[in-house]
Subunit: 232 residues, 2 copies
DNA sequence: ATTCATAGTGTAATTGATACACTTTTTTGA
DNA sequence: TCAAAAAAGTGTATCAATTACACTATGAAT
């Protein structure tokens, strides 16, 4: 199997409310994944727990990027209706500490007992479909992700252990919503000595097989601390 | 008066506790400025309020950079002692949404009725002098500030309306803790068409007077949105 | 054997980054 | 009034990085 990177998706959870009498759909939209932080739980740990409940994955790249706590962020009529329907106090103040994570959808079954969970390509997400202030949170997440990716090679979280340069390029093109020249892109990658060319090549593809590369975390950490020690 | 930029300082609040019986100083250290968020108050608004109470200033540049909520961030013995002394429940969970602000210390009198407030050069802050997890917060603030300053000219918040290129250079040197070549620095500044050369020069200085420059926010906003529209 | 699909490669031109030293202007005080 | 002090202001040559651009190589499928 040779799954290439295709799209940047976000995990969204369906929020549905049906009028028990008329059977009319009162609410049918989407939210980002989230949950309350337990007493005595670190904020990062809560984010990891949410992610684990959804994907079954541990030890995932996770980055806090934004905290939202506007007193009327839950005040849209639909959000109020929803909060009442799940027996929350609709006037309670909610502060959300937001994290993004990068996960490779290969091999993952997203699971949530009582709710429908979807992968949605970020460019297909309609703002008005998102509950609460989640559209704004998603926008901030993308900005933070792009900014991070400019300076650190976190993109490897989204790729398999062995990847081709075309896959890597495609990833950057999707995240930054642009196109790069193949030769110039490869020149840049060539300068990164933590990207290791392997002996192995693709097999079973109906065209010239690409060479696999891998990311060497040790080399990266080493040259990262060099930068910190000298040039900053 | 011609105050040039000299140092990057942080406002710290003294935390002092004296044993009422023995007169012994039990606590004598420093904290970052902060306060609880009121019910019904936006997070940004709370940060602005803290800043206003300290400095009397409105409409100040402010940027959220980090939220800390580790359950045992207040658990050092001295912090526990302090919390009891001010009648807080020492085992209560406290989440801090952290902001940094850039203010020009000129014309500012920092005021706080019952506490001593100090400007301290950031490089002089000893980590062990800071209460709670404030040393880590300060460290994160500096990282976030440098990162922001690489991409956006927020440095103007720290300069007077009219500033000289030497002042601007000094500011960058202090924030990034490095030195730049004068000619190369000026070449870079020259390319920024939102930095306007004025007719005015310094007066009363005992050397060749420097030309004043100013920052044109409109031109900056215009070219910023051009970048967003085309090249990203 | 041909077609299709994607991998993989080099060079020239332009732009940006760096290293580097002297002259200019004003005040101050001998 | 002249010399010294202090900081402003300026140009060029080298090297590194970025961009634009088009063809050949390989393997599978037919």
């Amino acid at each position: 199997m040779d799954l290439t990177f295709r799209d940047l998706n976000v995990i969204l959870v369906q929020r549905e409310l049906t009028d028990p009498i008329s059977g009319e759909k009162l609410i049918n939209d989407l939210t980002l994944a989230g949950n309350h932080v337990y007493m005595d739980e670190q904020l990062d740990a809560a984010a990891r727990r949410v992610l684990f409940d959804l994907t079954g994955l541990h030890d995932i790249f996770l980055e806090q990027f934004y905290t939202t706590g506007d007193p009327d962020r839950l005040s849209k009529p639909m959000d109020q209706l929803w909060l009442k329907s799940i027996n929350k106090n609709p006037s309670e103040r909610v502060v959300s500490v937001c994290y993004y994570s990068l996960i490779n959808s290969i091999n993952i079954t997203i699971t949530k007992k009582d709710r429908v969970v979807l992968w949605v390509p970020v460019q297909d997400v309609k703002n008005q479909e998102l509950a609460f202030d989640h559209a704004k949170i998603l926008e901030n997440a993308l900005l933070a992700l792009r900014n991070k990716l400019k300076h650190e090679p976190i993109s490897f979280e989204l790729l398999p252990e062995k990847f081709t340069l075309s896959q890597l390029q495609r990833l950057y093109e999707v995240v930054f919503n642009t196109e790069y020249d193949k030769r110039n892109f490869r020149k840049k990658i060539n300068k990164m000595n933590y990207i290791i060319k392997l002996e192995e090549k693709q097999v079973g593809v109906s065209h010239k097989p690409a060479t696999y590369f891998s990311f060497d975390r040790n080399i990266y950490e080493a040259c990262k601390s060099e930068i910190l020690n000298f040039s900053s």
